[in-house]
Subunit: 173 residues, 2 copies
């Protein structure tokens, strides 16, 4: 196993629709379901030799098609049993403000993902917290205090429903 930490971000600048053949798609589909499949098992399922599989995998990582392999961890098991979506509007929208806010978000604990969106709102933050009190603190101490934040709105998340997977949606039917 090459074990290059997360996958060196040596992407060639984000390729659009890398040329992926059926074998690549099969590998991706398997690895999206089970990222810890052994190379041997993967090769067998795709009907190719193990060494070929190794090379294909390396190529997919180097091209940035596979960005990383991640353990999918239950937030509740870490004591983060409350999730919320927080809508954020900035007062000014220059490059500096945007970059500043994003830099902050990347290190804000409790933020799972942030979306920069078009429209009246600027950001949507998906967060996980232990308690309602922690959520309030997050909003009051780390968001409304940020220099260019003009408006914040919080929605409780009842449930997160996974979609059918990326590869299922790939390439036109």
């Amino acid at each position: 196993m090459s074990d290059s930490s997360t996958t060196q971000n040596a992407h060639p600048a984000s390729l659009d629709a890398a040329r992926l053949d059926g074998t690549d798609l099969a590998l991706l589909a398997e690895l999206e379901r089970n990222g810890r499949l052994t190379n041997a098992a993967l090769a067998e399922r795709a009907g190719i030799a193990e060494s070929t599989c190794t090379q294909r995998l390396r190529s997919l990582r180097e091209r940035g098609v596979i960005r990383a392999f991640r353990a999918d961890i239950d937030p509740a098991a870490l004591g983060l049993s409350l999730q919320a979506l927080i809508t954020v509007r900035l007062g000014t929208h220059g490059r500096e403000q945007v970059h500043g806010f994003e830099r902050g978000v990347r290190t804000l604990p409790n933020v799972l993902t942030a979306f920069h969106v078009a429209g009246a709102d600027d950001y949507l933050l998906h967060v996980a917290v232990p308690t309602a009190a922690a959520l309030r603190e997050l909003v009051l101490d780390h968001l409304t205090t940020q220099p260019h934040v003009r408006h914040v709105e919080t929605q409780l998340v009842f449930e997160v429903i996974p979609g059918p997977g990326l590869v299922a949606a790939g390439q036109p039917a």
Copy 2:
């Protein structure tokens, strides 16, 4: 490698804050960054024997702390270079409507994740599509046509910003 596909969902009903010691957290933190770390490397980083690491890992999966291992795939590489957040409001909110809608969402291609939220809106769908035309089709053919959908609003996603990771936020500082 035990290779039980995704991780059999034999969770004990969703444990809240499973008892996780420092070693467990170290393992989770590593695996969140690199889910394909070998057991040997993981053991070394955590300062435990390889056989111990195997057991810890098995336990974490069996308890549902680790739900799965997934390849993180670049949507653009699959030709899905446009992302959006779609807000959905239902007309009626009985159990049947909610379950029906969720069942539909789970099989809707292009849906990466759906959030069931509290408030004026009922759902937020994170989708990835190849083109603006495909987005329009998704909304018109698969959402507004659903029986209990009353209102749909679409926001373009400029950028998805990853948070610092779940484990970073775990347990109070």
